[in-house]
Amino acid sequence: MKIHEYQAKEIFARYGVKIPRGKVVRTPQEASRATEELGGQSVLKSQVHAGGRGNAGGVKVVRSPKEAEDAAQQMLGKNLITRQTDAKGVPVNELLVEGLADIAQETYLAITIDSSHRGPVILASAQGGMDIEEVAAANPDDIHTEPVDSTLGLMPFQSRRLAAKLGFSPELARPAAQAIHALYRLFVENDCSLVEINPLIATGDGEIVALDAKITVEDDSLFRHADLYELRDVSQEDKLEAQAADLDISYVSLEGDVGCLVNGAGLAMATLDAAKNAGASAANFLDVGGGATDEKVASAVEIILSDPKVKQVLVNIFGGILRCDIAARGVILAYKNKNSSLPLVVRMLGTNVDEGKAILRDSGLNVTFADTIAEAAQAISAAR
């Protein structure tokens, strides 16, 4: 689960990591007032769950309260489209208004879990303020990776080494190491999957300040972080994805026109690949899960049918725990509730498959049956 920059910065501050002076605003008037309080100049930052804001016009420097009001008028209530969003973009409902920073040095710092190191790693680069993916592609040696032993935690010498790798002078090494130490503690205590600061700066006065802040909390740990879950902003999520998440259905919206209902993440990915190989393109990834009831299957299919892009539906169920008759009843229920007549390609295998097929055959829906994943993919592309 992602949270906004200003929320992440509030958490940073609680851990003693310095952040710029600033205020969250929701109206142009508030933006003007906040800019005045900051001395008449500020930077307005769109609060959205997407990177690449700067290049997309989501961050603006203003030189007067009036300029702030006008800029905020332009930014608030609009959708921001960045390279990380889809073509619709994400709504800008809040701006973070911050004082202008006196930047002497820009660096990059991130903490994440790396499966090949089997634990947390800290990534540090002296190339801050740039697109880190580009740095990684062009000069991978400019990014230092520091694995952390989960039992020992981050050791002081590692923080010192990281401060040096960030390129800070010896006088700044101490405050930088303290900040890194605090961020690691924050990462662990809040079950994060990502903490990222780009840039982490040194100011002209020799302070280490987090100019940006990104926190992603690991979804599987939210059961023990009720306080963090309250920071969820559904407006930033794809509507259908949010609806699916509430039903505990794993759903990702894609660009194509074939709605897919599958059980199991691996089989769902394989189904997308098979559709692509047959020249079709999936409208979504959907894993309905193992222990689904007919109501849950119906909810999943209704989400698929709510997507205006969908022109046909592919069902690929390998019945194990999820019985084929349950899946069939769920599909029919959803088609009835949505009053839909979209063509349906069904590939079912495993537990109670004959019953499942019979139920669908008698339903009056426009169903084409396929025995294999290959036949299913062909049936989809033939129907186009």
């Binding site: 990380q84 879990i113 499966s115 090949s116 089997r118 634990g119 947390p120 993916e133 990684a136 592609a137 032993d149 989960s150 039992t151 662990v188 079950d191 999957s193 690991e218 979804d219 599987d220 740990s221 059961f223 023990r224 794993s250 990702v252 894609l254 660009e255 599958v262 059980n263 199991g264 993440a265 691996g266 089989l267 769902a268 990915m269 394989a270 189904t271 997308l272 690949d273 098979a274 559709a275 692509k276 190989n277 393109s281 999936a282 990834f285 894993d287 193992g290 222990g291 390998f318 019945g319 194990g320 725990i321 295998l349 495993g350 537990t351 294999t372 994943i373 290959a374 993919a377």
Partner: protein, 294 residues
């Protein structure tokens, strides 16, 4: 033959009185698995299905039944405790089906288990099966399996069933099938399982199924190139997935070029694997390789 389990494997189920635990304990038993007991704290002394003894602790279960494998169906907040309890009781092989254990809990568990002789399969996995020994330790549908000489290893659940279904449809039986789990950190890696298949005289060919995200497939490729002596067919799924999106498995986030299908497939091809072109071709690719072996 086959790997990890055989006729002497004695299984207990942790969480045997729960909804999932009871359903799958029953299915495993019906398949022929030697289910010797179950564990649910507070329900010791009961009988599951009127014949399988339930214990309060794993230590008691091991003491009374000589169990040497624990299959875990315990909700995520309590699963780490269940795993460590089994390790503490000296159970050498633990299979954890539970999906949704926080990754930082797994980091600590993994570290702890490395200091013990215990092997963990999973979490977030379908388990494993050796059809020839009538031993099913997991949630896979037993009916699709046939005893034979092809090993299957995968990160996924239902996609493993898909692979097995295609093999069995062509009359190709399996020595053992292992799902290592979809999480970023799992107790057993692809390399661990490949090493066991390499040493297993009952396995002639391995079907390997990877997916996008992380570098587990590249690590497997490096091992295959250096040490693996048997033919291997590989499929990596997720080519149609968009960058940066989580596709159900936490480990499947595309984090960079190396996490993409093309990079993984290239590494496996370079290691000498036979590439399975599409998810529909798992069975026929394995069949073609087996025919060359004859």
């Amino acid at each position: 033959m086959g790997i990890l389990v055989d006729e002497n494997t004695r299984i207990i189920v942790q969480g045997i009185t729960g909804r999932e635990g009871s359903f799958h304990a029953r299915a495993c038993k019906a398949y022929g698995t030697n289910l010797v007991g179950g564990v649910t704290p507070g329900k010791g002394g009961q009988l599951f299905d009127e014949e399988v003894p339930v214990f309060d602790t794993v230590a008691q279960a091991v003491e009374e039944t000589g169990a040497n494998l624990s299959l875990i169906f315990v909700p995520p907040p309590f699963a780490p405790d269940a795993i460590v309890e089994s390790a503490d009781a000296g159970v050498p092989l633990i299979v954890c089906i539970t999906e949704g254990i926080p990754v930082l809990d797994m980091v600590k568990l993994d570290k702890y288990l490395q200091s013990t002789p215990v092997r963990l399969i999973g979490p977030n996995c379908p388990g494993l099966i050796t059809p020839g020994a009538k031993c099913k330790v997991g949630i896979m549908p037993g009916s699709i399996h046939q005893a034979g000489r092809v090993g299957v290893v995968s990160r996924s659940g239902t996609l493993t069933y898909e692979a097995v279904g295609q093999l069995s449809d062509l009359g190709i039986g399996q020595s053992s099938c292992v799902g290592i789990g979809g999480d970023p950190i799992t107790g057993t890696s692809f390399v661990d399982v490949l090493r066991m298949f390499n040493d297993d005289s009952g396995t002639d060919l391995v079907v390997f199924i990877g997916e996008i995200g992380g570098t587990k497939e590249q690590e497997a490729a490096a091992y295959i190139k250096a040490e693996f002596t048997k033919p291997i067919c590989t499929l990596v799924v997720g080519a149609a997935a968009p960058a940066g999106k989580r596709m159900g498995h936490a480990g499947a986030i595309i984090t960079g070029e190396s996490a993409r299908v093309e990079a993984k497939t290239a590494a496996l091809q370079d290691a000498g694997a036979t590439i399975i072109p599409t998810p529909a071709d798992i069975g026929i690719t394995a069949q073609a390789v087996l025919q060359q072996l004859k």
